[in-house]
Amino acid sequence: MLSALLVLLGFFAGLLGAMTGIGGGVLLSPILALHFGIPIREAIGTSLVAVITTSAASSSVHLQRHTTDIRLGMTLELATSLGAAVTAFLVGYFNRNALEGIFAGFLLYSSVTILLRGGKIKDAEEPTVNEDGETVIPPYEPQRYPLGLGASLFAGGLSGLLGIGGGPIKVPVMYLFMNVPLMVATATSNFMIGVTAAASAVVYYRRGDILVGLAAPLAVGVFLGSLLGARLAPRIHTKYVVYLLVAIMLYLAGHLFVHLLTGKSA
């Protein structure tokens, strides 16, 4: 039965996403498009609901550890939500093939980047803890706001176009260029994803591109999967999970290209 299958799909996407730190949303849209016969635009809109669910659940955990910079996040959200709303609007005029091509390109690019880094996605930075068990964050002052806002506009645009979180763009920009500690950059990026995804999701919804009957079981599965994944992550070697994720991403990219060239599923 379809709903049960979607709960399962969401569960594994959420599990992989939470264990590797790469949002599971990037897997959901191509799988919905290629294996469930959902047009790519509706697939993207539908998986946005799962992306918002994951972000809300995981950033509430980061907030309780006080590692999120709400001021920085809110400032950059001006740019991410603007970018996301604009591209979500423009997607209505894109043809399906262009969207599938961009998605395949993005999957390929992400896979190659992860492989070049030797399968390391998550930060190696261990949080320092003081005697009260609180996380200690070195004092910092965010720098280069124009650059951060520009990168956020781009990340938001990509998010509205493909229904993804855009963490792989925001985290390095905050960490490398804005002088923000990696732990804070990761938590803050996660915090921003919900609002960014919501900015495009409302546009997709009004256009009828969120299929509620599919979005609900997916979100339920993703929620459960990411709860479990977050608990498992510290206990297992995530490196192999990352390679599994890369293998799935490469398969989906190849499948999308074949789909584009032949006009039918491989």
Partner: protein
């Protein structure tokens, strides 16, 4: 200016997100389970309510943070929050009915 140590602020915003995520999860789950036994439009309507509340959660989060900033007399970040809120609402208004 960056201030990370504002436990009360963090807690309120975290609460909004947690209530949204858990609440919507249970609403959508209820709709799904009901759909196994009830064959009317009701389970679908419940699922739609869950999805819409999920979309509304980040919007409420921005609104709550904005109000908290204003209460702290932090006008700059209050204004930024309401700017984000305006973008979110404009997106909802302008996406109307294009099929």
């Amino acid at each position: 200016m960056s201030q990370l140590r504002e436990p009360a602020f963090d807690r309120v915003v975290a609460l909004v997100l947690r209530v949204g995520a858990f609440g919507c999860f249970f609403i959508m789950l209820a709709g799904l389970l009901m759909g196994l036994f009830v064959h009317t439009h009701i389970p679908g309507d419940i699922e739609r309510a869950g999805v819409l509340l999920m979309l509304a959660t980040p919007v409420v989060r921005v609104l709550v943070a904005g109000v908290l900033f204003l209460r702290e007399k932090d006008w700059k970040y209050g204004a930024i929050s309401f700017g984000v809120l305006a973008i979110l609402l404009l997106g909802a208004v302008f996406g109307i009915g294009e099929h």
